[in-house]
């Protein structure tokens, strides 16, 4: 009977129910998409770094792990010192430039020869490797997103580049240009953002890291294989705070809408509450009825929110094909729990208010 009562109340005011459901759905979708976007970008970047095939990555002391945020170049000569270390087979410098004109992307300035040595080279789908100073390589995702092909000219950083090759997705970045040209363009000659180190054998990675740490104290030296596990929001400055802020914002919106919805519901049903009391309904039963209604509304909102998240992801990916949005069951569950707790908190005061209503006043309410 309680479930029938709750369902009847939900469907008695369909617009009110729809607004409540949408509020929860937006809350859930916001949490899932924001977290999915950040973790997707991190995971995708980590995968591409791992995909290079190098064993170690060396960065400047103040550099950030999330490479697109890194703005701390090192002298390129450090590469020569790294090369001298025992068990080091090859060292490749890379200069990274974050670009926001015409899209959000990181341009990798590389030395084709040394990059080939540490990564065993690109898998070319079309064209050839970097040869001239204006040459550019793009991966297949970038080509699809920007509708580019080998032979095209692509203007980037106010510079015309010639696309000479299209490589398979999954190695370092999406756009590669000669390191020297990129250094000159941004006024950072003889600088590198990071060094990729290939050891003679993978088992020597630990020894080489120890050597480099001795040689370059305070420089972050990381095994590339661990990059995936290290690339989480907790290791990225301010990202955790950003995610928490967005979740708090989403929860606040959901909580306030549920509060308002249930508060107006209680006002609207004042007379009904009086009737329930005249029938002998306890305070607990009235609270339970309203909270069950909220929970059901929340479940509908969560289901809609999950659907909405996939819809938003599809929309984003259609508009920005190089984006990566990672929707995980773990975060779907967390978003659902966050929404449920928020909704119950939002409905608690109106439910308490309803249970405390004076029966006689409630029965004479117009």
């Amino acid at each position: 009977m309680m479930s029938q009562f709750v369902l009847s109340n939900l469907f008695h005011r369909p617009v009110r129910t729809l607004i409540g459901v949408l509020a929860v759905a937006v809350e859930v979708a916001l949490v899932i998409v924001i977290v999915g976007l950040t973790s997707g970008m991190l995971q995708e970047t980590a995968k591409r770094i791992e995909g290079i095939g190098a064993d170690i990555m060396v960065q400047a002391p103040s550099a950030q792990m999330f490479l697109v945020m890194s703005g701390s170049p090192m002298p390129i000569k450090i590469g020569e010192k790294l090369q001298e270390q025992k068990y080091v087979q090859a060292v490749a410098p890379a200069f990274l430039q974050f670009n926001t004109t015409g899209g959000v992307e990181t341009i990798w300035g590389i030395d084709p020869e040394s990059f080939r040595d540490v990564s065993n080279g690109f898998v070319f789908l079309q064209g050839h490797d970097l040869e001239g100073p204006e040459d550019m390589l793009i991966d297949d995702w970038e080509a699809k997103a920007k509708k580019l092909k080998v032979g095209d000219t692509f203007k980037l950083l106010d510079h015309d580049w010639h696309i000479v090759g299209m490589v398979e997705y999954g190695k370092a970045g999406r756009i590669f240009v000669p390191i020297r040209t990129l250094q000159d363009l941004v006024g950072a000659r003889e600088k590198a953002t990071l060094f990729l180190v290939k050891c003679t054998r993978p088992e020597h990675t630990g020894d080489v890291i120890a050597e480099i740490k001795q040689l370059l104290p305070n420089y972050p030296v990381r095994p590339v294989k661990e990059f995936m596990t290290l690339m989480t929001s907790t290791n990225i400055p301010a990202l955790e705070t950003f995610i928490h802020s967005m979740i708090a914002l989403a929860v606040s919106v959901g909580l306030l809408v549920i509060f308002l919805t249930m508060y107006t519901t209680v006002l609207e049903r004042t007379r009904d509450i009086g009737v329930l009391k005249s029938l002998g309904a306890s305070k607990l039963l009235i609270v339970r009825a309203l909270l069950t209604e909220t929970a059901l509304l929340c479940f509908l909102g969560v289901a809609t929110g999950i659907g909405l998240s996939y819809l938003v992801r599809a929309g984003f990916l259609a508009a920005f094909p190089t984006l990566s949005i990672l929707i995980t069951p773990g975060w779907i569950l967390r978003a659902a729990l966050i929404a449920l707790v928020g909704a119950i908190v939002g409905a608690t005061y109106p439910a308490w208010l309803a249970s405390r209503k004076d029966a006689v006043q409630a029965l004479s309410y117009d």
């Binding site: 009977m1 029938q4 009847s8 329930l276 005249s278 029938l279 002998g280 006689v360």
Partner: protein, 248 residues
């Protein structure tokens, strides 16, 4: 205080008359109800003494503002008495907590209101069944069928209040009030929003409940014609009962 009444019993061969002592099922002693409007104290009931025997039907009449509804709400446990005693089936409401009065209401009292007060989201069936649910004994299909048949509601059970006439809504409200076999049925101007024909139907229903099932009924009314359906009429004025005249 017990009251001695003369009861006639009929057998196939003879009619016997015997005297029986009955305890009132409803009794008030020097009942006061005061409302506060800011710092002003407004008395609604001023020392009401009122008894109702089991199986009796009583109509309470009086002008607007004389305290009829206040009396109904206090004896029904919806409002607390300011002073005095209220006994319902031997339970002193004035000594009870809010939760205890709620429980007593659930098991011993049924309400019928002037404005029907059906839950708009539920069908007629839902409105009746929710009373059974709140009562706590679960859905009793036999009792449900008996009551809905008695009130002629079989064909209207799947309709919402907005799809029913006033008379039908009031019959649903009566069904809801009696579905749990309360000791007392309290009706607050049940014909106040009905036309003459539907008023007569509702009053006839109340009379049948009283005569056929022995349901104790206390009804508040403005309508002098309605009192003809009741055993006893009580007049109220300015918060006190001014008489108690047998109807016939």
């Amino acid at each position: 205080m017990a009251i001695t009444v003369r009861i006639q019993t009929h057998s196939s061969s003879e009619t016997q008359t015997e005297l029986k002592t009955l305890e009132p099922i409803l009794k008030t002693e020097n009942l006061w109800k005061l409302y506060h409007t800011g710092k002003v104290e407004v008395p609604a009931l001023c020392g009401v003494n009122f008894d109702v025997l089991p199986g009796e039907s009583v109509a309470v009449m009086g002008p607007s503002g004389c305290g009829k509804s206040s009396l109904l709400y206090v004896i029904g446990g919806l409002a607390r008495a300011s002073r005095g005693k209220v006994y319902v089936d031997g339970n002193d409401l004035s000594m009870m907590t809010d939760a205890e009065r709620t429980k007593l209401r659930r098991h011993k009292i049924g309400f019928v209101f002037q404005r029907f007060n059906l839950l708009p989201a539920l069908t007629a069936r839902g409105n009746i069944a929710i009373a059974q649910y709140i009562h706590g004994d679960g859905f009793d299909p036999h009792r449900f069928d008996v009551v809905t048949h008695l009130l002629g509601l079989e064909g209207r059970l799947h309709h919402r209040p907005s799809e029913m006439s006033g008379g039908e809504q009031q019959r649903v409200a009566i069904a809801r009030a009696i579905i749990n076999e309360p000791k007392i049925l309290l009706a607050d101007e049940p014909t106040g929003n009905l036309d003459t024909k539907n008023s007569e139907i509702v009053l006839e229903m109340l009379r049948r409940l009283n005569k056929d099932l022995g349901q104790t009924v206390v009804m508040i009314t403005h309508n002098p014609e309605a009192t003809a359906y009741f055993d006893r009429v009580v007049h109220m004025r300015d918060g006190v009962i001014v008489d108690g005249i047998p109807a016939d």
